[in-house]
Symmetry: C2
Subunit: 249 residues, 2 copies
Amino acid sequence: MQKTSSCLVTKLQHYVPLSETDRALLREIEKSERNYQAGQEIYQGGDTNKELFVVKRGWLISYADMPDGRRQIVKIHHPGDIVGFTDIALKDVSTSLCAVENVVLCPFAKQAMDEVFRTSPRLTALLMSLALRDQVVLIDLLRAMGRMSALERIGYMLLDLIARLRITSSELTDRFRLPLNQTQIAQYLGLTNVYISKTFSRMEVEGYIRRDGLHIQILREDRLREMTDFHNRYDDIDISWLPSDGTQA
Amino acid sequence: MQKTSSCLVTKLQHYVPLSETDRALLREIEKSERNYQAGQEIYQGGDTNKELFVVKRGWLISYADMPDGRRQIVKIHHPGDIVGFTDIALKDVSTSLCAVENVVLCPFAKQAMDEVFRTSPRLTALLMSLALRDQVVLIDLLRAMGRMSALERIGYMLLDLIARLRITSSELTDRFRLPLNQTQIAQYLGLTNVYISKTFSRMEVEGYIRRDGLHIQILREDRLREMTDFHNRYDDIDISWLPSDGTQA
DNA sequence: GTCGCGCTTTAAACTGGATTTAGGCGGATG
DNA sequence: CATCCGCCTAAATCCAGTTTAAAGCGCGAC
């Protein structure tokens, strides 16, 4: 019966109801807030790994750079996401994190996660399921990068983003705000900004999408799904194996 | 004090000592064996997800296909690996599995994994760490696919493979057997078999490697590490947060 | 207003890797 | 010992996407 609805709780409860104990654990994690402004780098690959974040507001990107400056963006983070879970078992973080717009994060120490692991088997299992799901999503992206044309890759990215946004706001239709610039999209899809521009224009001409400032409307979602053989990994998680909920603990 | 040394146990103990209880759990998992011959497809993406495998002998590949036949290989499995862990939270498996040579697998039901989760927090945490580590490795591969040239990608793959093989056989020097054909390597690196052939030849001419049948010798490992900004993710796992070992349970 | 700045667009030249096709080699099979 | 088959190599051609450079286009600062 919390008044400030947390997007982390919303996102997790999309998969499974949480006990009051579990929600209390999560509230603890989201206790403190920190602001970062657009373009700010929050940590860098190689830094010692000491805290995780829950995204409260705004989009962020994680990326890995080559020494000569080539950059590969590997994850796009939205409100409700946990950032840094992947690196939990590493001494140093493997990617850098940057705010693409003004954001609000809830930082928390790795130890807080230990607390979750110790006291809530159900939440632990859920987080683990989501981490494994993320790995499947990464595999999908890998396939897109290795085997799809530029147009297919952009289509795939748009489908993936909208599927994720629909988790938290189910009334969302076919239009959403995309606060990434074309250089960042290129760094995500393994292309160049110039070719992103060209392909976006082409997609508009051919009626796949419509653009309006930062907003993208997907006009031929079915066709894009078919072209990219898209699977929505955010809907069909199997939670049947989760331990019974924490109320008994 | 087991006589038949299990490569799974060897691989896990590379990171952390295991209690007798834990080893017993793993023995249970490796109880039954099944043989598959070279080229055989063991399961297909979309099949219902019911069992996992420990690799006992031989190499295998996991891949995702597009409906029109384009194929992306996403993982190369070696003896001691657990296959299918990624899909544990999915109703249907997301990739296909194929033996690249004659292999021996130990199949076990998902429930056996539940047993591990219930009874050994330490083993659970270790498996989870390794799953997260795999995700970091996947991110490295993604960077290679998105931002590296053909020569760099091949170099990266060779470095990754030899780093993994060195976990189980530390006396391994700079030479190893690579039972993949060039078409498979291409499907792994997002290139074509023809260009793999060309680039391999070039790498040999330029003194990066030497080839001899299925064997590859890496001659300029330092240079390749530098070119690809290679990080060995198999060495530096942080296990300090693991719960104390299961003997007290 | 107009200057500067970040971002997108367009165009032209270029190239890394794809495609296609043919040949060659080695090992299994009869 | 001839045939076949899977795999690797080589050469010619082609093209999707890169590179470089130069406009456009808002938009906020002053």
